[in-house]
Symmetry: C2
């Protein structure tokens, strides 16, 4: 027994193939009660449209673009590697994935890029950019023009609540990620009074802020003997980073933990003073943090799987193009904890 086809559906509904087609593809010129008859027949016989055949017939293909910031760290490079991998793997499924870079500091330029996207050449975009009014407007206009969009890794609305509203966000809950880091820090650090140094690229990014909030909440509630020092911003500047590190460890000899919020942990960790052995917790898996885990310098990493992120974004975009539901459990991005043993 194979699945019922449109022909079966036409027979079951007592209409012709043409009418079935009109109903299935939302064409005009069908009376309401006829539509209802067909819809009921769909339920009755359990008709499921054969997507392969449909896509074949309309020679449909999916063209998606990942809009990523031009200024990228190693984590972003891994993401891009996964996009390339996916673009290979998805060709079998008529899905083409490309990458375009944007100036993430300039909301106007981002909005302009979004505005320039042509529905004739692009079916969907995954946008990694800070949420700004301009960008939000540009996104709204995208959907009007029939281009699907998902927020990718950053730019979600609301705080700590992914997919608030109808907004689709691919990435982890950064508040929970920070809380996870906090819990591990609390358990790994000694039980005595001590301080924890927190480093960020910039605290303007929503991601960093939320991680920070989550981290502080757990430490403050459950590990009162630990004092979290005010977060310091490195601005990805080597000199500044070195100064911060030296100054912090000098004025606070009792620093027992180091939490690196940003996805580029390399710079701060190179400047941990010899002799100091703080518990280090950082984010994202990069060649550097991997090595750090293996040598024992880093105690734990809080990560999200770049491959999963990319494939999830693509699956969500495709589902939206087809007006389908996604499998929610598959698209939930997990907050992963990596230690040396489960690398």
């Amino acid at each position: 027994m194979s699945r019922p086809t449109t022909k079966d559906l036409a027979r079951a509904a007592g209409v012709s193939l043409a009418t079935v087609d009109r109903v299935l593809n939302d064409r005009t010129g069908v009376r309401d009660d006829t539509v209802k008859r067909v819809t009921e027949a769909i339920e009755a016989i359990g008709f499921i449209r054969n997507l392969s055949a449909a896509n074949l017939a309309r020679s449909r293909s999916y063209r998606f673009v990942f809009l990523l910031p031009r200024s990228g760290d190693q984590f972003l490079n891994r993401v891009i590697a996964r996009i390339d991998e996916a673009s290979q793997a998805f060709t079998t499924e008529a899905t083409q994935v490309t990458v375009a870079r944007i100036e993430d500091e300039d909301p106007h330029q981002i909005a302009a890029t979004l505005g320039a996207l042509d529905p004739a050449t692009v079916d969907g975009v995954a946008i990694m950019a800070p949420e700004s009014p301009q960008v939000r407007d540009a996104k709204a206009r995208l959907s009007e023009r029939g281009i699907e969009a998902v927020a990718f890794l950053s730019g979600q609305i609301g705080s700590g609540h992914p997919t608030a509203g109808s907004e689709v966000f691919v990435g982890i809950d950064n508040y929970a990620a920070g809380a996870t880091a906090g819990r591990l820090m609390g358990r790994f650090a000694p039980d005595t009074d001590a301080k924890i140094l927190v480093l960020a690229d910039t605290l303007l990014a929503r991601d960093s802020l939320e991680r920070r909030r989550g981290f502080d909440a757990v430490i403050g509630r459950d590990y009162p003997h630990l004092t979290v020092l005010p977060a310091l911003e490195t601005h990805s500047d080597p000199t500044r980073t070195r100064q911060i590190m030296t100054a912090s460890f000098t004025s606070h000899p009792d620093i027992c933990g180091l939490y690196v919020l940003a996805s580029e942990a390399r710079m701060p960790l190179l400047h941990v003073p010899a002799g100091a052995h703080p518990v280090i917790i950082a984010h994202e898996r990069t060649p550097f943090t991997e090595t750090g885990l293996q040598t024992g310098q880093i105690a734990a990493l809080i990560t999200q799987d770049p491959g999963h992120l990319v494939r999830s974004a693509v699956r969500i975009l495709r589902a939206r193009c087809d007006h389908r539901e996604v499998l929610a459990s598959q698209e939930k991005i997990r907050i992963e904890i990596l230690i040396r043993e489960n690398l």
Copy 2:
């Protein structure tokens, strides 16, 4: 520009569509150098077979069976729930997934079940059963009859080395999982001399053995102040479990950690003596262990995502049916660490 079709391929190779078809589908009656010409043309123009169209033409569908032990715990129930979910989600892709139960204690019966599978009704099986000579033979005969098979969650050959040989195994590296548990135990437990209790359903199962080995290796090497007591077997027997727990905590008042190897942590944890607050690390996410994490009774869980397991098995089976490669990075099952914050 759309992808080249068989027609383009025929033109590029200077042969007819019929010959292209013969080459693509491994039919006889084509001279070797003609085959070569076509193969070269495939490379040259980058021809990729349109799987949707191919499956449509041969009205192919994939019918897979998950063979699971009849005696199941809550973790297995979650796996089954994911299979049901997947069977819904995969109907769109002409893939039908069902579950059959086997008596996991009886290798003969398992082998018989495998032998009774009909290639006319089944395209692939995911087998969750202990590896025995009979089962191994039966598996070999499966592939002779053209039924694909993967080992699912247990039954892998070799120790700690998934996919040893050409054997396909869907699941985690249990040695590494045990080592992960060991590392967490070492970091969570106090720095003073103390004992760790290890509980298993049975130590006959390879999974448990390997987890045990990994756990011991880490504790023995890096946390010499901790003593791992000989593992005790509960055999899923409530009375026996209670006795073990009581006896252990009585004769070893300095137990600081409890490692539950089996996927059903419920029974032992109900019998932790009041007043004792060992660091508890267990495996797999179930309603019970979730609650344990939330209340703080359980410090950490080592898990594998059932949904990922199921979908991965299905993808691998489908790829093998199509003689395709899988995306390795997607099929690697991660050893997940769950704490209260990243639940």
